[in-house]
Amino acid sequence: MSYNYIELITLILLAIGCFFILSGSLGLIKLPDVFSRIHAAGLIDTLGSGFIVLALIIYSGFSLLSLKLLLIPIFLIFTSPVTGHSIALFAHESGYKPKGKNKK
């Protein structure tokens, strides 16, 4: 019975993670310029991958494997701001101006 319980929690967390990844990908298409699209990519990096790894840790049980899984979000937390910052800085230096308001 407890087995089903764990599977249910895993399913819910996976669904939440997938939802964040879906809205991040939607934002990548929908948002107007480079700077806004970085926000959507950051959403996938932090919340999407975070929830999915959390679900996998709960599913696999607490062992050495789950510690290894825990290393993935730790590395993402250190690297994803660097990539976002470098893209934003390069766009800024090469003269892109962020769009002020949305068109609606």
């Binding site: 939607l26 934002g27 806004s36 959507a40 950051g42 959403l43 701001p81 910052h85 962020p98």
Partner: protein, 164 residues
């Protein structure tokens, strides 16, 4: 209060770095045989020597003072990421975004603190640090509410308190 000797502090940070590297090796390998553990120590020593040679072990890059406060700070950071992530998701779905550039002042004293603050701003979805001057950041925010959240200076205070 007795001020700790500079050399002993440096030794302590070396030992901490060695322990962190070895724990990392053990998590990735998971071996418990004596021979393999010995090989692990050798590879950790090699990495240690390389980072010493690259001068990556200065005091600024391995701050021992904050290592105990770090877990609490991470829990707080996850809470912030979750909150602004939900705001950003709502903005993407309903399309009421109004991107804007703002300037944010940082009050951290050393370089690690400033890098920490800039990374924390970028990590929370909806705000990205574009440029870092000496004490002011140029930040791109996705909506007015997100930029006002940043200008209340909460995050700045927490990170300044981190390496008091």
């Amino acid at each position: 209060m007795a001020k700790p000797n500079k050399d002993s502090l440096k030794t302590l940070s070396f030992i901490t770095y060695f322990i962190i590297l070895f724990v990392f090796w053990f998590i990735l390998s998971g071996y418990l045989k004596t021979l393999l553990l010995f090989f692990g120590v050798i590879s950790v020593l090699f990495v240690f020597w390389m980072s010493y040679r690259a001068k990556a072990l200065e005091e600024d890059s391995l701050p021992l003072k904050i290592i105990l406060r770090l877990p609490f700070y991470w829990i707080w950071l996850f809470k912030e990421i979750f909150k602004s992530g939900i705001t950003t998701t709502a903005l993407i779905w309903n399309g009421k975004y109004s991107p804007q550039l703002i300037k944010v002042k940082a009050s951290q004293k050393n370089r690690t603190g400033i890098a920490n603050y800039a990374n924390a701003i970028t990590l929370t979805p909806g705000t990205v640090t574009i440029e870092v001057d000496k004490k002011t950041f140029l930040v791109h925010a996705l909506s007015k509410k997100l930029s006002e959240d940043l200008q209340t200076d909460d995050m700045n205070k927490v990170i300044t308190d981190l390496d008091r």
